[in-house]
């Protein structure tokens, strides 16, 4: 295998490959009839068109280049007698197979992918409900300032006349010991602070809140009436209180902490949280804002997970559990709505019974219109709203029945029903693509006024959605999916080998990578930065562990250059390196699979036989690289592992916790690797920096990124939009100088436009 030999030799082999094979593909192979060869030597096992036979049932399709496919045939086909089909014959049959049925394009031609009817995914369901309610109220966007407003009082009661200080506190993490928070406090044994503002959340999930204080306090999160943590009574030795909230990404939530000291000797207060996949930590300043915002209605009912068998999440299946969950969720919304009703239905104190009822009925009609994402027919209005407001039904029961009915209706649960060319359908597709949710009132208005009929109009609204905080977080969420971060949360390491690699380090690493993603999502040059940056976000704990000279007690994350001659881009971020490794040793295979499937977008079928990796102690004299080469050398394995291993080996410069290393088992690390381009050329690189340069320049990375982003946003097969859609998007992406938000808008417009209408 040429790509495993040292650099110089490999170069020579590569030149030979270029000289010998490329002309062959274009001339002599063309003279041989691939169809005839296939019929003679392949069809008896694989079927006349690769459909399989009882002996070899697997269908023949994939994304290998003609060159790769020919090589596999030369090496291994027909099974047991590969000498039967070699050289030009192999190349001819590969080329024929490729165009007839093997390639994704051929498959798309044979079985044209269809758009499917989609129901709301779990994430869409939750977003839709939150946005429906928000549409009747208001919400803030994160501003320039971060932190919470702190109002300090010289008494337990928070009376204005007792206020001593008002300031912006970046975090709530104070130890006042036996003293006071500043000048002007009469009694060191009694004072109080009110912190308020909003939480800024960029990842969906359960958040555990922890209030640590030897004094008293109440914490309100996304609920101004009922405390999430009520620790007003200090009792005994208890000094830590917890509560949990489910929060949706891309939104702000009201938060308030009333805290006081009363006759205790000392005082301190620390407001912490445990975000999804991470450890308990003081709530960082960047997630706090002094802005006020309104409460969000968050559905907490658990749903069964959505289908992701096609490689991306989509709502194409229903089950009894799902149907039941939609019922529970509708009831949950009906339960929570009364606390929002006054503001969403614009109820006033002076309303008489008749006025109140009319307002509630009007609210329910508006709710149905927005939930169904298009104007109601008379029948819908009657079935889902008016008939519940018959005489004698109390208001609250009528509203409850409306809410449950609307949220159970197919018009809410399924997307894109009705005339696909209607502008409301266009608005719906645009909104789901860009913010994974129902159109907001602004966009619904634009639909009914036909402001989105023109390309300019549609473009305007697309950018408007994308430029909101929701749009930014939508991209951040996709980047997590692209890097497969949701699945990477177990990276425990063997304590005897990596004694100081603990859960806190892993949690910090995830935070560090999140910083990089957030920065990229808001930067014009984000895509290139992601792949090539030599700057990484570290705090003191990470700096000590990875050998950077940042002071070990640095709490806040800072962007620093970390080993710039060795590391570049997220592919050498220690979070990914440590996650794509075993408990004791690195794993070139995991890293290589991630690079080939995730970044380069290659299709990898599961190994023909399930094989467990050779334990390092069974081959004590081999390096990881040698052991992997040895184990994957059988022909059956090599068909895929030639590519996988060569992509993973450049990252052998990093151990199982992502620390840089120069030797393993007293031998220098061999970090050479490479990738065979689709035209057959071998691209070689050594180490992470060269790898990152290759990925950043590779068209395959861009194509794959565009394809995955499309699927994430649209949830329909991209080939259903035309065989050249991927290339078109990839071209536009390259032409826009790799602006990820332009790519998102292009995808959203493609999805939103009425059927048959394409970009001029």
């Amino acid at each position: 295998m040429p790509n495993h030999t040292p650099n110089a030799g490999q170069h020579a082999v590569c030149v030979a490959v270029l000289l010998l094979f490329l002309p062959g593909l274009t001339t002599s192979a063309a003279e041989i009839d691939g169809a005839r060869v296939y019929a003679q030597k392949c069809a008896s096992c694989h079927g006349a068109a690769g459909e399989g036979t009882p002996d070899v049932p697997q269908k023949l399709f994939g994304d290998r280049s003609a060159f790769d496919l020919a090589e596999v045939i030369t090496r291994s086909m027909p099974e047991g007698e590969p000498e039967e089909c070699q050289g030009d014959e192999a190349r001819a049959v590969a080329k024929w197979m490729l165009t007839e049925f093997y390639s994704p394009q051929a498959q798309a031609r044979l079985n044209p992918p269809q758009k499917s009817l989609l129901r709301l995914t779990v994430s869409q369901y939750r977003n839709c409900v939150a946005d429906l309610i928000e549409g009747f109220t208001w919400a803030s966007q994160p501003g320039e300032k971060s932190g919470l407003t702190g109002r300090y009082y010289k008494s337990k009661s928070m009376r204005d006349s007792n206020k001593v200080i008002e300031r912006l506190d970046s975090m709530v993490d104070f130890d006042f010991a036996e003293g006071t928070p500043g000048e002007g406090f009469d009694k060191p044994e009694e004072f109080s602070v009110l912190w308020d503002g909003s939480l800024v959340v960029d990842e969906t999930g359960w958040y555990d809140f922890v209030l640590k204080t030897e004094n008293g306090g109440r914490l309100f999160v996304n609920d101004t009436q009922n405390a999430l943590i009520d620790a007003y009574v200090k009792s005994g030795d208890t000094d830590e209180y917890t509560g949990a909230r489910f929060l949706l990404a891309g939104r702000m939530y009201p938060i308030r902490l009333n805290w006081f000291k009363f006759r205790e000797k000392t005082s301190s207060v620390r407001l912490m949280w445990k975000p999804p996949h991470r450890e308990v930590q003081p709530i960082p300043s960047r997630h706090l804002s002094p802005e006020h915002t309104s409460r969000v209605l968050v559905v907490e009912t658990p749903f069964p997970p959505d289908d992701r068998s096609s490689g991306y999440i989509r709502g194409t299946a229903v089950s009894a559990e799902w149907d039941e969950a939609t019922t529970y969720a509708a009831i949950e919304v009906a339960d929570k709505l009364p606390e929002f009703l006054r503001s969403v239905a614009r109820l006033k104190k002076g309303d008489d019974e008749q006025q109140r009822r009319e307002k509630l009925q009007k609210f329910c009609q508006d709710l149905a219109y927005r939930a169904f994402r298009r104007p109601l027919t008379d029948e819908q209005r009657d079935n889902y709203v008016d008939r519940h407001f018959v005489d004698g039904t109390p208001d609250e029961i009528a509203v409850r029945r409306c809410v449950i009915g609307i949220l159970k209706a197919p018009w809410f649960l399924y997307r894109d029903l009705g005339d696909p060319n209607d502008l409301h359908a266009v608005a719906e597709r645009l909104s789901f693509a860009l913010v994974d949710s129902t159109p907001n009132p602004d966009l619904l208005q634009a639909a009914s006024k036909e402001w989105i009929k023109s390309d300019d109009g549609l473009d305007h609204y697309a950018w408007k959605l994308l430029n909101s905080y929701r749009g930014q977080v939508r991209l951040q969420e996709f980047l997590r999916v692209w890097l497969n971060m949701e699945r990477l949360h177990e990276a425990d390491k063997q304590a005897d080998l990596y004694p100081s690699f603990n859960r806190e380090i892993l949690s910090d690493l995830r935070t560090s990578l999140e910083f990089t993603l957030r920065e990229a999502a808001t930067s014009e040059d984000g895509f290139r930065q992601l792949l090539t940056t030599s700057e990484f976000w570290l705090n003191g704990r990470l700096a000590s562990f990875y050998g950077h000279d940042l002071a070990a007690d640095t709490q806040a994350f800072q962007k620093v250059r970390l080993e710039p001659t060795h590391r570049a881009g997220i592919t050498s971020h220690p979070f990914l390196l440590a996650s794509l490794a075993y408990q004791d040793v690195s794993s070139p295979i995991h890293r290589g699979v991630f690079l080939s499937r995730g970044l380069l977008g290659r299709t990898l079928k599961p190994p023909p036989d399930s094989v467990s990796p050779t334990a390092p102690d069974l081959e004590p004299h081999l390096t990881t690289r040698e052991r992997v080469i040895k184990q994957t050398s059988p022909q059956m394995c090599a068909n895929c592992h030639t590519m996988i291993n060569a992509l993973g080996f450049p990252l052998e410069e990093f151990d199982a916790v992502g620390r840089h290393r120069t030797a393993e088992k007293d031998r220098p690390i061999d970090a050479t690797g490479g990738y065979r381009l689709r035209d057959g050329r071998m691209k070689q690189f050594r180490g992470a920096v060269e790898l990152s340069r290759f990925l950043a320049e590779s068209r395959e990375t861009r194509r794959s990124f565009a394809r995955q982003l499309f699927h994430h946003m649209v949830q329909q097969p991209i080939l259903a939009y035309g065989a050249d859609t991927i290339d078109q998007l990839a071209d536009e992406f390259s032409d826009s100088d790799l602006k990820m938000n332009s790519l998102m808008v292009n995808i959203a417009l493609m999805a939103a436009r009425p059927a048959g209408k394409t970009d001029p």
Binding site: L117, K234, S235, D237, R263, S319, I404
Partner: protein, 436 residues
């Protein structure tokens, strides 16, 4: 605390969740079940009593009924009046706090930051309360397990969690908030059943629309909608089957739009007591607390023509005759509530069993103080009513200054839960009070 799981657990819409809606015991009860049901209700009213208008002079079965207890005259033979039972707990917190926090726990308060009118500040009680202890025992046994185990009712309890507003404890530092809004209690008890009706009322539209859509949509997508329609139909059938199987219990009717305000205290008390009796009929719980206002409660009993708050009046010295006439009136009103509850329980047959609910229920009426103006924790006005615990009822008892921990032990033993102590051990040395 854990809302995600509670939410799921408390919802139950289809047959799979039925054990939560109906207690299998209530169907299987009666002769086939050798264990008879036993229930405990603790009724609380605040600020001590008026001793001379409360305590009988005579001991034994032939006792005299003073003005405050007059409303209970009809149930004299089912009542125990227990003089000489004292809350001996010392430590942090003023007596209103200790009286409340220790009433059902028999355990001291932790040091803390709640400052009363005197003494040192304190926190929560350091032990479990008797209602929760018995709930745990009953819930651990499949034969006595019920949907909720215990219910905590309140009437106009101030909207703040502190030592004066909580008497039921899951354990040290774990107070239970009473539900003082009848509509909220109704929702907890019957919300699912109402929602079943709501769901049933919308499913026909949903089904009709799914069908309509199936007929206009492409063949491939139709399968998805048809599958969905099947699930909706199955749920509708399930709801119908449940209805005809008589799953829906007697659901009480509540007067609508009764606001939580002082003048509605009598009305809210009735509503809550009706819900309590109904929950026993449905066997939702075997222990309950019923807390009218709170320790230091300040209801103004305008419906009795009294304009001053109860706590304020309770500070008046004995020689203020006018104030004490009012206090007697106030305490008589509380006793009327006890009488109403007693009557409802006595008139309601035991479902699937013999006799009335009162034959299997014991009510303990208690208070955080003996008397308001002295703030004494001696001679807490304890009265027991009903025959849930096989005590020898219909007597006036005079104990010699015994710790109330022993009374709590008697109740536990009455349930067959033979604890060796309850709350602070040093007050339990002589064992449960003999009440049989």
């Amino acid at each position: 605390m854990n809302t995600r799981r509670d939410f799921l657990r408390q919802l139950g819409l289809t047959a799979g969740a039925l054990p939560f809606i109906t207690n299998p015991q209530s169907d299987a009860a009666g002769s086939s079940n050798p264990l008879r049901k036993q229930r405990l209700v603790v009724l609380f009213s605040p600020n001590g009593t008026v001793p001379w208008d409360f305590w009988p002079e005579k001991e034994g079965a032939d006792f005299d009924i003073k003005p405050i207890l007059k409303p209970m005259e009809a149930y004299k033979d089912r009542m125990l009046v227990m003089h000489g039972v004292c809350d001996k707990l010392k430590g942090d917190g003023d007596r209103h706090m200790r009286g409340m926090g220790c009433l059902l726990t028999g355990a001291e308060l932790f040091p803390g930051n709640v400052q009363g009118g005197s003494d040192t500040p304190a926190g929560w009680a350091s032990g479990i309360s008797i209602d929760q202890e018995l709930k745990n025992v009953l819930q651990a046994n499949p034969a006595t397990r019920t949907r909720f185990g215990s219910l905590e009712f309140g009437v106009m309890v101030p909207d703040r969690a502190d030592t004066w507003t909580r008497m039921s404890y899951l354990g040290p530092n774990k107070p239970v908030a009473p539900i003082d809004n009848p509509y909220q209690m109704f929702k907890k008890l019957y919300g699912q059943m109402e929602d079943r009706e709501h769901i049933a009322s919308v499913l026909d539209s949903v089904q009709a629309d799914l069908k309509k859509l199936s007929s206009v949509i492409g063949k491939q997508d139709r399968a998805l909608l048809e599958e969905h329609t099947e699930f909706v139909r199955a749920m509708e059938q399930q709801l119908q089957a449940d209805d005809s199987a008589g799953i829906n219990h007697v659901v009480p009717q509540l007067e609508r739009n009764v606001k939580e305000e002082n003048d509605n205290i009598p009305k809210i008390t009735r509503m809550q007591m009706d819900l309590l009796v109904n929950s026993f009929v449905n066997d939702f719980a075997r222990t309950a607390t019923f807390q009218i206002t709170n320790s230091v409660g300040q209801p103004k009993m305008t419906w009795l023509g009294i304009k001053e708050g109860h706590h304020q009046l309770s500070h008046e010295p004995d020689k203020n005759v006018e104030a004490h006439e009012k206090l007697t009136q106030i305490n008589t009103w509380y006793c009327e509530q006890l009488a109403y509850l007693t009557k409802r329980l006595a008139e309601t047959p035991e479902p699937g069993g013999e006799g009335s609910l009162l034959d299997n229920t014991t009510i303990l009426w208690g208070n955080e103080l003996g008397q308001g103006n002295s703030h004494t924790l001696n001679n807490i006005p304890f009265v027991m009513v009903g025959n849930g615990l096989d005590f020898n009822m219909g007597r006036s008892l005079k104990f010699d200054n015994v710790p109330h921990n022993r009374l709590l032990m008697s109740i536990a033993h009455g349930f067959g839960h033979h604890v060796e102590s309850f709350g602070r051990q040093e007050f339990c040395g002589e064992g449960p009070l003999s009440l049989t």
